[in-house]
Symmetry: C2
Subunit: 388 residues, 2 copies
């Protein structure tokens, strides 16, 4: 049932192959010094770095470099980014990259004017920012995380073997994001499908809870069908602009708070997957894929009507003459078939997890409720074993 909630998403989006032009409209709204955040340098190879620096210079900005954001941004990198921002008194954090760069920029944004250590404050004590927040803008080069239109920021602490996400409020969401589907085309196919599965799983995490006739559930099904449809085109032809643009747009709406309105969510695939990531440093979307089917097969009996609906509405399973359980199982089989077709990881061992890690991964898994079944630690271990 839709209960009481608020919805506010002030991020301005510019979408399409001409979207970067709108950076010229946004930049005058902010001060002179821009911290340019990016990853391993692929934007230097494909020319995007030069294009963006030229626009920044045209707009009279001073560019402060902050390169080397890794796929799973670490707490050490976060502290470095905060130092760069403080030393240069930056006015805007401009992230150019995928969800890691956007997440990192948001984590920096709430830490620059905060006296405490960001890891302890935001990731251990889960406190909210009380300080001034440096504005964030994004130029997205990978579709998946939805970070371009939400307040989420996942940070990894290798020393503590923890990968934790903090979902900040609307004041931390990017002020603007530039979404050009062409930028996503230079990614290796493995990264593309990891992003696709990340999108799909974001939707699943919000869909598998509660009753069955909530508007959010209908929208969730629509987004699932759209990303399934487009992913099958994109794996055959990664240059298909239409498919890539629909994947990119779906990613944004899969995780910008819309489809969680009126829903409870436990995010358990993410909780388990993130802990796998903390041990293996594997690509986020792949860790989710590798643990999903064992997890959903485990909780299916507790949310059977929804798993049945998932089968018929998302996968077109015919329910005639079958038990609800049979229908639900066929839905998960259809999902498995699609996962194989696009080529995501189906086991955590192929991501580098070993038997001796499982206890630690389970220990690092934050167990939340809100789904059909609150897992015990033993059940987390069982999911992990079945994911090997």
């Amino acid at each position: 049932m839709l209960g009481n909630f608020s919805y506010h998403n002030p991020t301005k989006l510019y979408f399409g192959d001409e979207a970067l032009n709108y950076l010229n409209e946004e930049l005058p709204k902010y001060g002179k010094t821009v911290q340019l955040i990016y990853g391993g340098g692929s934007i230097k190879k494909n020319g995007l770095y030069d294009e963006i620096v030229a626009i920044l210079k045209d707009n009279g900005k001073t560019v402060v470099e902050d390169a080397g954001v890794m796929p799973n941004p670490t707490v050490e990198k976060l502290r470095e980014g905060v130092r760069i921002a403080r030393e240069n008194k930056v006015d805007l954090l401009l992230a150019v990259g995928g969800g890691s760069c956007c997440d990192y920029a948001k984590a920096v944004s709430v830490s620059v004017h905060c006296d405490e250590d960001p890891w302890d404050k935001y990731y251990i004590r889960f406190e909210e920012p009380e300080c001034e927040i440096v504005p964030v803008g994004c130029v997205l080069t990978m579709a998946g995380t939805g970070s371009e239109m939400n307040g989420g920021a996942v940070i990894t602490n290798h020393e503590q073997k923890l990968k934790i996400g903090h979902v900040f409020g609307d004041e931390v969401m990017p002020k603007f994001s530039i979404l050009n589907p062409k930028y996503t085309m230079s990614l290796p196919k493995r990264q593309m499908v990891a992003g696709v599965y990340d999108i799909f799983n974001h939707i699943c995490e919000q869909y598998f809870s509660g009753g069955d006739d909530n508007t959010s559930d209908y929208i969730a099904e629509a987004l699932m069908k759209s990303v399934i449809h487009s992913s099958l085109i994109a794996v055959e032809n990664p240059e298909d602009y239409e498919a890539r643009s629909n994947i990119m747009w779906t990613a944004t709406w899969a995780l910008n708070t819309l489809i969680s309105r009126g829903k409870t969510t436990d995010w358990m695939v993410h909780m388990i997957g993130q802990s796998v990531g903390a041990y293996t440093d594997a690509t986020h979307g792949m860790t989710l894929a590798a643990v999903s089917l064992p997890y959903y097969r485990m909780i299916m009996p507790y949310g059977l009507p929804k798993f049945k609906r998932f089968a018929t509405e998302v996968w077109g399973v015919c329910a005639d003459g079958k038990t609800d359980e049979q229908v639900a199982k066929e839905g998960l089989e259809a999902m498995e078939g699609w996962m194989k077709q696009i080529g995501v990881a189906l086991s955590i061992s192929e991501l580098g997890a070993t038997e001796d890690m499982l206890d630690g991964i389970a220990e690092g898994t934050i167990i939340l409720d809100g789904g059909y079944k609150t897992l015990t630690k033993d059940e987390v271990i069982q999911v992990l074993k079945e994911s090997m």
Copy 2:
């Protein structure tokens, strides 16, 4: 295909049966003088007026009354509202009512600090506001128009027999809207189903254009299925909170620019329906219902694949062994069956239109392109004749 577009919707929504409490959070953001906009006084009967005035007083506000907003707000009323706002130097326009009150508040908001006549500037010359815009807040009591989260404002000029909508930009959208599904329960059933059809038609207007695999089309289908599902519950039991809440939430997303991203739209059902409204003063949603089926049957051959998809995806029509045209026709028949079940108008004559009006209605119909077929004036007359 998703092309180039921007998306920005800054309206903050508070949803649920406790949503009015959040008025206390919003009011401190605005100055002292609040223009309280409402309709015929039903909010005085059900106690909402007293509740809101008490909250305004608690927050130290001076209340300026602006009552009597009619179902189709007139240009004369608009001029009166502008005068009230100017004389009292109001800081916030607070609309309590349905789409008419919200639309009216937005039309006032762009006219208070504008030297020209608002009808000529915004509705004849379709210019954009250059002046300061007075902020608008809404407390919604009827679900349908989506006005609570968009920039639209329809105004009627009876003298000129014109009912015209101007869709303003994001700076004119309400700053906040309070959506309590319980407030919609006191409406007569006829008003409720007119709202339901308005929602459904908003979705159709954006759905019936372009190609078939756009994320916006999938979301449109989801919203249609949700409103069909909940409307059938609500006509049997108007007190069903869950159904009314899903209808209310769907209404907001049916017309807040989301599902038109990447789509062209001609809004022809609205264009014809609004002209019928200018002649008959009939309820907006009923005018749309009365002209829809003849219009869609006329354009069906030009957008056959989409009408086929509409039949199978929204209405569950089985396509096996049928021609595309048969499938598409069955979809419109299913839609007609649902319209009869919920009890919307199926002819403009039952809304007071007479043969002698048809030429004038066609003359007052603004013909736009962007759909599957740009209508000629003769075709508008044909639609109107088939709607009699």
